[in-house]
Symmetry: C2
Subunit: 344 residues, 2 copies
DNA sequence: GATGTCATCGTAAACGTTTACGGCCTTGTT
DNA sequence: AACAAGGCCGTAAACGTTTACGATGACATC
């Protein structure tokens, strides 16, 4: 079903058919109606390769994720919510979102380089942002429009959206200190991912602001999975002087963490105060209820999409946002997992 | 960086350059080496649009998912694991996997139709298969190679891979009956998705084979989320004669189900025997340990990819599998959530 | 030396679009 | 009546590939 067949059917030149379909001004309204009707009837849709080749544009936005389940930064439900928000924006512009999973055996940098050189997409959304991320420098050098989900030291002035990790660290520590806790552990993610540094620095700053000394023994980095949470708790309990409270960089950790406490005959909250990160379906039914923070991932997706469009020449007049660097605010959801020391 | 620029650089015709890059036989080994070196040096990669236009092939495989987090979630790492398996196969053939999320506002059929008409991919993997699924008929009619994750009544002879839901239903019921249970509930997913029918029919057949009457009051369909599990338990407990055991169509249900029991002062396992579906990281730390079934999602992904290649003309000689219709075997992982009636 | 074979390479068409350009016809203006 | 303006449309080039076809030259065979 090429445009040629459609044109022959209508006895019109393919040039006119193309103009009619693309809403150009110099075509008789009558003719346009005929063309649109015939296209609809014959189920004609412009071939994307032909169009891309001619205009150098694909009408596709790529969203990279990493599928390494062991070291994953976020899971299916996190990203699906974000995708959903992203699509509500792109749908209005006839842009298609495609997710580009980077396999666990694959290198994220090579992955992006392949995506770019094959000219898959007009713009890119990057996740799992590293502290120094060669993908960012590469995209800037190539002039590819992009936004990252998560900050980075690389690249200087590019758009990103991130969660308010420093706010969370500060508020969590303050809340625990207010509850009488002085020995507050940190369950962090592995180095590499930038949030690991941000979260830990904010935690240290918060401790310092309350006059509490930093103790590296109770800062533990590992996989942010349920099993990872179990292991973190394991290590903390094995210390000569275990902490009385812990701040988690990810709520999935809480699931294993709770279990490890219970296995030791301890009660989450009473015997160890816990503050998680994001309110999520998985952590929702923990008991005692996990104190954590809420945000709308759908809205994050919307903002990601808009920020990306703001960097694309064809859309920046519709989205005059400039460079967006936004720390997403998160709302405290108090639970019963972090009572004052000695309570209960 | 077009092939023309590369050819000029080398003082060779673009035809020869193309043949050299594509490993054709009729090119001097010496020349080929020069071309490959120059391509590497200049960072040349063939433009995908040009190539697709010429050969009518995209070297892309699409994997459709639905992003409605409210009504259905597989485990939090379900799709990531599958993607990872799929990629290990496609990487060997220089095929790129792209995930095509269908937004919650969008219709899955329209979504597939758009994907096809824009000629995004050479082949498709479908998930969330409906009992009668118009997408399947459409793809067959258009002659697009595809595989589905999940069976369907539509389409007749196409390739699919599915989990062994009838085996699980049968074994779960048998196991519970052996434990003395006679009033066994079913927590099922909503109608539409084919597995809802398969699981329920198998459950009914299993009951019948043990001489147990079917009671529609204890078959509950709803969202397969943590919250959905809570609600299912809520309804079961409100019955005049609650069941003594329940079989879950999805392990996420178990998380809310446990919580509802505990909120009622009941003990999962002792007061209500529970058998979940798949062993997953989220359900791993439930206590008592959830009896469930294990499979390798990575391997499912591998098989999906191979089955798809087997239907694609360009690869079917390398994967002479014919039409694959495979019910994936799952291994019982006994827990403590389904003790014999009256035990404990 | 004529002929055939083979390796290697260049030429040009084709894929399906979009769009700059020019041409025709109608309409309006003087 | 002559001319200008503008609406509408056809023509053809261009995007970056791949590939069928033919050309060239080297070499061997008789």
């Amino acid at each position: 079903m090429s445009i040629k067949a459609l044109a022959q059917q209508l006895n019109i030149s393919i040039g006119t058919v193309s103009r009619a379909l693309n809403g150009r001004a110099d075509v008789n309204p009558e003719t346009r109606k005929r063309v649109l009707a015939a296209a609809e009837a014959m189920g004609y849709v412009a071939n994307q390769s032909g169009r891309s080749l001619r205009q150098g544009t694909t009408n596709v936005i790529g969203f990279t994720i990493e599928t390494n389940v062991e070291t994953k930064t976020q899971g299916d439900t996190f990203f699906m919510s974000v995708f959903d928000g992203v699509q509500t924006v792109f749908a209005r512009h006839k842009l298609d979102l495609v997710v580009l999973p980077c396999a666990s055996e694959d290198d994220p940098f090579d992955h992006v380089r392949r995506v770019v050189s094959r000219q898959f997409a007009d713009g890119l959304i990057l996740s799992a942002t590293q502290r120094t991320d060669p993908r960012i420098d590469f995209l800037i050098e190539r002039g590819i429009p992009f936004v990252t989900l998560g900050r980075s030291l690389s690249g200087g002035e590019h758009s990103w959206i991130d969660m308010d990790f420093e706010g969370i660290a500060a508020r969590s520590v303050a809340r625990l200190v207010a509850g009488g806790h002085r020995r507050i552990a940190l369950a962090n993610t592995e180095r590499g991912i930038n949030l690991s540094y941000i979260f830990e620095e904010s935690y240290r700053a918060a401790l310092a602001s309350h006059g509490i000394a930093y103790d590296p023994d109770i800062v533990i980095r590992g996989e942010i999975t349920e099993l990872g949470g179990y292991r973190v708790c394991d290590r903390l309990l094995a210390l000569p002087e275990p902490p009385t409270a812990v701040v988690l960089v990810n709520e999935n950790l809480a699931i294993g963490f709770y279990r490890r406490l219970l296995d030791a005959g301890l009660t989450p909250g009473r015997d160890m105060a816990i503050i998680g990160l994001r309110q999520s379906p998985q952590a929702r039914f923990l008991s005692p209820a996990l104190t954590c923070y809420r945000l709308s991932l759908h809205d994050v997706g919307v903002e990601l999409a808009q920020s990306l469009l703001a960097t694309m020449p064809a859309y920046k007049d519709q989205y005059p946002l400039g460079v967006v660097q936004k720390i997403w605010p998160m709302e405290l959801v108090p639970g019963e997992s972090d009572p004052p020391l000695g309570a209960g």
